[in-house]
Amino acid sequence: MRLIESQDLKVHFDSPAGRVKAVDGVNFHIDEGEKLVFIGETGSGKTVLGMTIMKLLPTNVFYSGQLIYKDKELITASEKEMQEIRGKNIAIIMQNPLSSLNPCLSIKEHLVQVLIKHKQMNKKEAQAEAERILIRTGIPENLLNYYTHQLSGGLRQRAMIALGIACDSEILIADEPTKGLDVTVQMQIVNLIKRITDETKKAMFIITHDLGVAAALGDRIAIMYCGRILEIGTAEEVFGSPEHPYTIGLINAHPSRGLHPIEGFGASLIDIPEGCVFSPRCQYADELCMRVEPPDKVLSETHKVRCYYASSK
């Protein structure tokens, strides 16, 4: 069953410097039990896209297009309707667990509050359930009543994951779940997310810039750049036969492939390049690329690339 579907989704912000087009015409869908990974550089609009699904963006935001959760249009949903959906149907693991947890509450208390609110448990049940969930995410039993500042980065991230899975939501958004962790802990967190989603058959929307994490977790991969999806496909398609020059560049920039950086910098979201957004940095770009933005080229049922020359290089 289709859980989330977006059609030409645009998320813009008004700022003193001009209109920031953080997400500009994005089409994607997530089916039940599917893990979709968004990869992109900083400032490519990944986090904004994740927060859009939760409608947690500041007040200077403008939405357009469609974003449908089951039968519900989220773009026009009221704050009250969203309060019902958040946490219960769609949950989020925010980036930066230290500032995303209340310093005045112990990690167990965080979970107890969520469970009381969404599962109508009484305090005792909620406490037992909170302990069960936290232990399941690998937090030692004697640390459950600790405050966030007393925990290590990995444990904080585990607490965030516990909060994300507390209500058996159908979709879990994970915003850079491995950010700021060292490699061994990253691996543990990835395995934890994998184990939990395999157990619960949860659909996931994962945001990362780590190709390793994406390959380990994702069923399908979307490459984001400048508020657009440049390439989307199954993990084998995107990593096995990448078609967009940007995807190829990203893969070649990985240390295991020799650490070859992509020339130039990510485009500004205020002053978006004419034509193909990647053309200023693309070594294959020609006059047509600079002038007219290419349409999505359908290579297979799942594989779409926004490039004129896909499958011809």
């Binding site: 939760m54 947690l56 309060q83 019902e84 959906i85 958040r86 946490g87 219960k88 949950a91 989020i92 925010m94 930066n96 500032s99 995303s100 947890l101 209340n102 310093p103 005045c104 509450l105 509050q113 969520v114 609110k117 969404h118 405050y147 500042h149 007393q150 909060l163 507390a166 209500c167």
Partner: protein
């Protein structure tokens, strides 16, 4: 190591101040049990006795009233009144300040401009003006201290709530489906309270001083009511011959201010959640 020493040190000062405050508060509450003499009984045959004579521990004043009893009963007014003033101010300021910050927009602008206007008056002049217009009495002094007192709390609560509002754990709380009321009571107020309580503890000290000074000037508590500032004021004419009359209420004021300030300092260390662990060990 050094940081730890400082914390240990301030902690022991805080312990001392808590002991002093406890003794004072107990003394004030159980005043009738402690004092052998009534603070208002005039006995002109026992005027100006020096400390220790005839069972008058602190001696007597110009009307032969027991000074010890007057200081204990005076504490009822000084400490009790200042705690009331601070509590009213803190609650008022917290409500006004945090509402302004949370609602934002025009409400915030209006409230903060009122605060700015009140801030621009020198506080002592406005206090004197209010008491001057309304006439000197305990009630009017109480009112005058509240007119300006809530401003500090309101500004503090506003700035704290403004910065809290943008914290990602508030967004995260919305992300798990909390409504506004839940966010305010569960996430905002617990994070603001430590700072407000600390500020309040420090404020009690300065309020005791303000009440004493106003009473000393004859603008607050009126004679014959026992109050530290008023007692000082009565004693000033005997300053050179009978200094004990001015020393004891002076000590009472200084000691209470010292203890409340130390308590406030200690609370400030506790209020910082990052120091919590260091203090315990």
């Amino acid at each position: 190591m050094k940081k730890n020493d400082i914390i240990q040190n301030s902690n022991s000062l805080m312990k001392i101040s808590i002991i002093i405050i406890t003794i004072m508060v107990c003394g004030v509450i159980f005043a009738p049990l402690i004092c052998k003499f009534d603070p208002y009984t005039v006995d002109l045959t026992k005027r100006l006795l020096s400390p220790g004579t005839d069972g008058h521990v602190f001696g007597t004043d110009g009307f032969g009233r027991d000074l010890f009893a007057r200081i204990i009963y005076g504490g009822r007014v000084s400490i009790g009144l200042s705690v009331c003033v601070v509590m009213v101010n803190a609650v008022l300021g917290l409500i006004i300040g945090s509402t302004a910050a949370y609602v934002g927009g025009a409400t915030d602008e209006i409230v903060m401009r009122i605060v700015d206007v009140l801030m621009s008056f020198p506080s002592i002049i406005l206090t004197l003006f209010i008491i001057g217009v309304l006439g000197p009495s305990i009630n009017n002094m109480f009112f005058a201290l509240i007119v300006l007192g809530w401003i500090g709390y309101a500004r503090m609560a506003r700035s704290l709530v403004l910065s809290l509002k943008e914290q990602s754990f508030i967004t995260a709380a919305r992300g798990i489906g909390c409504n506004d009321a839940r966010i305010i009571f569960l996430h905002v107020i617990p994070n603001v309270m430590p700072m407000i309580i600390t500020f309040a503890a420090l404020h009690i000290g300065s309020t005791i001083l303000a009440i004493s000074s106003l009473s000393f000037l004859g603008l607050g508590v009126q004679p014959p009511t026992a109050e530290w500032g008023a007692t000082l004021s009565e004693a000033k004419q005997y300053l050179s011959l009978y200094p004990h009359m001015i020393i004891f209420p002076g000590i009472a004021i200084a000691l209470s201010m010292f203890s409340f300030n130390m308590l406030g300092d200690g609370l400030r260390d506790f209020a910082d959640p990052h120091l919590k662990k260091t203090i315990k060990t």
